[in-house]
């Protein structure tokens, strides 16, 4: 009798010991997980502080209004930020309408068949294609076959293709979150498919579409490899042709065909110089580029949050 109870006691003792060990491990994991996560966030902060500190001596009006130069202290990013802005304009104008329309097709119109399946698999796969391969595509097709040359138009189209999957996926998710009841109510009142889409589905998914657009552009703005591949120049001491003219017809699209440089290209050029003085320029350009990217992401997060809060189905 006593032997049995002492054996049970022993068993319970072992169990309790095991339990406290398991609970300890559990707590240890919380500490490990939390510190790894905070570590990653700290690295982001270090990265930013480091760039700002290294680039500090270059910040100033001159840096924004000077062209690249052989002397590090007088070199600036004028051609780079103008080039980047114009490329982003082309990218947005091409990628957003096509991406949104493709997403509408896949969500609202496409029949369920093998053809739609192919389009869907394509979009997923395109998102996984390395960005430099888009550069090769552009070099072979846009620059040489279509004879666009090493122009702003070629760069903008390349980046538009690159972010197309991002825009499509974001728009689809956003359209999918519109409840079917809304569509059915509109159909019930005799609306056609396009009227349902244009008057009901699209307005409700604007937040998601905007978020996708901004995230896509923030990806495009930092992409270096594809536009190096199509042959961006790193030393440019002139601006593209002005889009606004003083005489009729007042607008000109000549700038689309001008050679260009862009922020990440300029930074890469400075980083790869052995001269230490240029590293400060690289850091300053990097800090500005990082600020642009983070600001765009911040806006995207804000919009997503705002729209999610506003809509109550």
């Amino acid at each position: 009798m006593s032997a049995v109870s002492s054996a049970a006691m022993l068993e319970a003792e072992k169990l309790r010991g095991g339990l406290s060990r398991r609970k300890l491990l559990d707590k240890a994991f919380v500490v490990i997980g939390l510190s790894i996560m905070l570590g990653c966030l700290a690295i982001l902060a270090v990265l930013f502080i480091d760039l700002v500190r290294d680039g500090a001596p270059r910040f100033g009006w001159d840096f924004l209004t000077n062209f690249a130069s052989r002397r590090a202290t007088s070199a600036g990013i004028l051609a780079a930020w103008v080039g980047t802005s114009l490329i982003m304009l082309v990218t947005a104008v091409c990628a957003v309408p096509i991406g949104v329309m493709a997403a509408i097709y896949l969500e609202e119109y496409a029949p369920k068949n093998w053809f739609t399946a192919i389009v869907e698999i394509n979009v997923t796969n395109l998102a996984g294609v390395p960005s430099i391969v888009y550069g090769l595509l552009a070099l072979g097709l846009l620059v040489h076959q279509f004879d666009l040359g090493q122009s702003i138009l070629a760069a903008g189209l390349t980046l538009a293709l690159l972010i197309l999957p991002i825009v499509i996926v974001a728009t689809r998710e956003s359209i999918r979150s519109v409840p079917n009841a809304i569509r059915e109510a509109a159909y019930g009142l005799g609306a056609t498919r396009w009227e349902v889409t244009k008057d009901h589905v699209l307005p409700y998914s604007t937040g998601g579409i905007l978020t996708g657009m901004i995230l896509g552009l923030s990806r495009a703005i930092g992409e270096t490899a594809p536009i190096i591949t199509i042959g961006a120049l790193s030393f440019i001491a002139f601006l593209p042709d002005s889009p606004i003219k003083s005489e009729f017809p007042f607008v000109s699209f000549q700038w689309l065909h001008d050679p260009f440089t862009a922020m990440p290209i300029q930074m890469f050029n400075w980083v790869s110089r052995p001269d230490q003085a240029f590293q400060a320029n690289a850091a300053a350009a990097g800090a500005i580029l990082l600020c642009m990217t983070l600001a765009m992401n911040g806006v995207a997060i804000f919009i997503r949050y705002r729209f999610r809060k506003k809509i109550n189905w």
Binding site: F29, V119, L141, T224, T229, F268
Partner: protein, 288 residues
């Protein structure tokens, strides 16, 4: 009638994606076709030197493949444990508001332009490593790989966390009812249940690491070097493409065609990992 026109327009937009894929495959095959007229497949895969631009030209892709695989492995050694741990923490341990705050901030790590990561690798990580390994050269694959690893942590953690959260609640509750702690539940119930999603996350990370360009172009040097030692400088496939593009090569020359051949190999490697990932995902898919 108008509906019909709209539908055709929408369909045309959808087809842009299909045409892009076709164009990528077409351009790569067409341009590297010219390359393989000069270079035999045997030389391409067995020669141990890659010097297409030198007078004594060698066309062996292996040094570039070795560089790509080495930086990728270093990146994964960093990113897989970190990313998975963060995902387990966020999905199983973190309170709701912590998760909602941290996840977007963590995703910013993946949004930083890669050229900035390159600067980081060259000017901060390499000097830091040299402090511990004084003989480490200024350009090396180790620092590039570490930084790429850091860069893909958010991709892995984000996708893994989504997969873990899709594991139904009753499975966790069953495990808790048997007296398991949160950690035991996470490791023995949630992770196996979400394995297909985790595999997809790792494959996504691998694809990013294989295709990553600027970090290696800046921090790993651009000399093709047949080695698997991460402490050495080497060029990856992507770095080679950048290096050639920076110069001014005549359209149609063998150097010009060689970057398309390199791009074709890059696509093949990416595709191979994706096929493996697809197989894994299918094999381990749990339906709830």
């Amino acid at each position: 009638m108008r509906d019909r026109v709209v539908e055709i327009l929408l369909l045309a937009s959808g087809l842009v994606a299909v045409f892009t894929t076709l164009a990528i495959v077409g351009v790569l095959l067409f341009e590297s076709g010219g390359f393989f007229e000069h270079v035999t497949l045997k030389e391409f895969f067995t020669d141990t030197m890659w010097t297409p631009l030198f007078a004594d030209a060698h066309y062996g892709i292996m040094p570039l493949v070795a560089g790509t695989l080495t930086t990728t492995v270093v990146a994964l050694v960093v990113a897989v444990p970190l990313g998975t741990t963060i995902a387990i923490y966020l999905s199983e341990f973190a309170p709701h508001n912590v998760r909602e705050t941290v996840k977007p901030i963590l995703e910013l790590l993946g949004a930083v332009p890669t050229v900035v990561y390159g600067y980081f690798a060259l000017t901060m990580v390499t000097p830091l490593l040299q402090y511990f390994m004084p003989e480490l050269p200024g350009f090396n694959m180790l620092s590039a790989g570490l930084v790429i690893g850091l860069m893909i942590v958010p991709y892995i953690s984000s996708v893994s966390e989504d997969a873990m959260r899709a594991v139904p609640r009753y499975m966790r509750e069953g495990s808790y009812a048997m007296g398991a702690t949160r950690l035991q539940t996470a490791l023995r119930v949630v992770v196996p249940g979400a394995f297909s999603g985790l595999a997809a996350a790792f494959i996504l990370g691998i694809s990013r690491a294989v295709g990553e360009t600027m970090v290696v172009a800046i921090a790993a040097g651009m000399q093709p070097n047949l080695t698997f030692d991460p402490r050495e400088p080497a060029a990856t496939i992507t770095a080679y493409i950048v290096q050639v593009s920076l110069g001014d090569l005549a359209h149609g020359s063998i150097g010009y065609q060689s970057i398309f051949a390199a791009g074709l190999v890059l696509m093949a490697i990416t595709l191979m990992f994706n096929v493996i990932g697809f197989g894994l995902t299918r094999k381990f898919r749990e339906a709830y």
